[in-house]
Symmetry: C2
Subunit: 451 residues, 2 copies
């Protein structure tokens, strides 16, 4: 009898321990409140805007991101090419939302959506939601080619940009040490694959390094040997822009000394030799992959909700197909509209405008008002190609050269989060402009290629 | 007959290949010139100054460093505490020496000195020297205690400072997630071991984070629970300074909310619990070790040349004992003079003045003039303790508070390399001063404790 009482007590104790443990380790510690909880996954342009727009709403916002900062992706290429420090283009999330009472940030990665139970499974525990907004954005797409995944350099995050910066500088340090001309050729040849805005801007910045910066640092090297090659599968650069600007981009790059190879596909790359579709070989120890992006998907959504291009199908209210309380915005999502049969372009303005729509519709939902449909307002596009040269397109108006470049600078400064960042970026730009110089030439964490 | 000719040909070819290979992989690729080659190991304050002073000398300078940048160590603690970006306190070596024709930089680590052959063995090949100057500086000294080596955070390099910054921020992210009060206590308690300038400055900066910055970022945490404890083995802080300033440092720190534990030794630390000599236990997940430094020695010197404190014994000309053409300067070296029976303090001004002496003596050697002995000119010392508070000592004059703090700021700005860095650091300081804020709160590379 006594024994069974003891067993029972032990059993109860164990149950208590387990349930207690459930509380402390299973669910993420977020205050329980009576207003609806909106969980946002990802603090890119979309997630950031959404959380801001909801600041006065009677909701609880929980934002999850694997980093504690928002990255201003359009300027990543300047981090890679030693023009800006990482801290100038990234901004602490907690600081952005300082004082916003309904906002909670948790740093962690979401592993699964359990939509039947309205909860998420994450690296830091589980989390219930009333409404879920997926704003996970996109990552580099190697189209399944292992070669590139292993040997090419991506540039979609701050760490990747810093790795690329280290690689570029390490290559020149190595080029100095070798007497093997083939090795030196590989170390001094940089290939950018992909002729979209990222590829064009990066190739331009590399040419400026060649022209103004590196020859001062490495007087012992012959910089006529340094090559920057931009490779594009299609027949033109910047295919999202109009004809004038597409031509301009090529012209500007060639003026800067960049080789532009159009209609060329790269099919193989082992870390030192790249091979094109036509069998042409090219020695390079620095191949940067800017040829495609893919949505960052999370397991657990309805199968029908993922379209053929591996993006989340959303309706005109940004609602995910087959889910009542799950939304998706920005790069990860794909909304088919008459003018956009393949979805909208995967750029920041779309994400921001979708965030604004979802925020306003959520507020309307609580008041049971009629919801609005998404209507994309195209503000135009721009890309910079080095010093004094940029291509800008607003509606039917296009402009380039110095005027385009000034417009590009002004807009990017305006969009950067935080006054201090704007000031520091501005100083760095003015400094580089006057001195033809870049400052961030430190190999703080050497890049080591994965084997 | 034919066969033996073939064998001979093969043999010659093989020899050629081997000798050729020797050239390309064995010796570091540096131009062969007729003037003496001076090899400097390390680009800290000493190495940097020496190479600068020799810019007009008829010599070939080869500077070796494992990093491609010079670190302004006195401001490392501001990188750790999110006040400055790494790029502001580090400066690319190649840029410093831009245009200096007799200067060659090679990035690599020296593994051994082969003094009989006047050569070095390094991670990037071998290198002959005519004169060698060892300026390798110092690193964290754990006094052989494995516990601290594994679990405590050092702060002697840019990467270590960035790791510390990540750890501090990660601790608060974790503190938010846990409901275990013991764990939270550990995550919010920061212990700085060592009451020298580094410890004092770091503890002060941590207190400022507690007071002005973190509560805004983590409104859900109760910051009365955050503790900053400075532990010093001796009876006073800043033992190199005079009595007034030693007292001041304690007062200032306590005003900022720091607990100062004097006459306390830490003997154990497993990553969450630290134990003092007297058996007192303390929960902390952030123990920073600033309790000692040791010289960075390289194998291959005469055994007599290393003194009991593991520093290189040098004579009054900075020449290493028992070597004719090897010098050592700065933290790594120890010169016994009447006023300094245990050697000079291991601080930047000593390294810089020794570099100036060696440079001028080398130039005199070539002209066979009489050499000068080292005569240390003590310019005074200073340490800052947070906002508006610093202790400064110049000869017999001491001052503190705002005036000391302004002097500290002015001097450090002046000493930073590069105009851009000065401007950016100045803006960051003014910004933080007005806004009571720090900007660099990014966990760019999460810190992962070694197991």
């Amino acid at each position: 009898m006594k024994q069974s009482v003891e067993t029972l007590a032990a059993f109860i104790l164990l149950q208590l321990l387990i349930s207690n443990c459930n509380i402390c380790t299973m669910f993420i510690n977020v205050p329980e409140v009576k207003v609806p909880r909106i969980v946002i996954i990802g603090c890119g342009f979309g997630g950031l805007e959404l959380a801001k727009q909801l600041r006065k709403a009677e909701v609880q916002i929980v934002l999850l991101d694997k980093n504690n900062y928002h990255t201003f992706q359009p300027l990543l290429y300047q981090v890679s090419t030693a023009g800006l420090e990482a801290d100038s283009i990234a901004y602490p999330i907690r600081k952005i939302f300082k004082g916003q009472k309904n906002f909670h940030f948790r740093m962690g990665e979401v592993q699964q959506i359990v939509s039947e139970e309205n909860k998420l499974i994450t690296s830091i525990g589980e989390l219930k939601y009333d409404y879920l907004v997926i704003a996970t954005g996109s990552t580099t797409n190697y189209f399944g080619i292992k070669d590139f995944e292993q040997n090419a350099m991506p540039m979609k995050s701050v760490t990747e940009a810093l790795d690329l910066r280290s690689l570029i500088l390490q290559n020149f340090e190595k080029a100095l040490l070798t007497k093997d001309l083939h090795e030196q050729e590989a170390l001094m040849t940089f290939v950018v694959v992909g002729g979209g805005p990222t590829g064009v801007e990066l190739a331009g910045a590399l040419c400026e390094l060649k022209k103004h910066v590196l020859p001062n640092d490495y007087p012992e090297l012959d910089f006529r040997k340094m090559r920057v090659i931009l490779i594009e599968n299609g027949g033109e650069l910047l295919q999202a822009m109009n004809e004038t600007n597409r031509k301009r981009a090529s012209t500007y790059l060639e003026e800067l000394g960049c080789e532009v190879w159009l209609n060329t596909g790269v099919v193989k790359y082992d870390g030192t030799i790249a091979e094109t579709k036509t069998g042409k070989q090219l020695r390079t120890s620095g191949l940067i992959w800017a040829a495609g992006i893919k949505a960052v998907l999370i397991d657990g959504l309805n199968k029908d909700s993922i379209n053929a291009r591996e993006r989340i199908s959303i309706d005109e209210y940004c609602k995910v197909k087959g889910h009542e309380n799950i939304f998706a915005i920005g790069d990860v999502a794909c909304m088919v509209q008459e003018k956009y049969p393949n979805g909208h372009p995967q750029i920041a303005p779309v994400a921001i405008q979708q965030a604004q729509l979802v925020a306003s519709n959520l507020k309307k939902t609580f008041k049971q008002w009629t919801l609005n449909k998404f209507n994309y307002f195209d503000k135009g596009t721009m890309a910079t190609v080095g010093r004094n040269r940029a291509v800008v397109e607003v509606g039917n108006i296009t402009f380039g050269r110095l005027f385009g470049w000034l417009a590009w600078m002004g807009l990017h400064l305006m969009l950067l989060v935080g006054f201090r960042n704007r000031v520091v970026v501005f100083i760095n730009w003015v400094w580089s402009y006057i001195n033809y110089d870049r400052n961030m030439r430190l190999i703080i964490r050497p890049f080591v290629r994965k084997k």
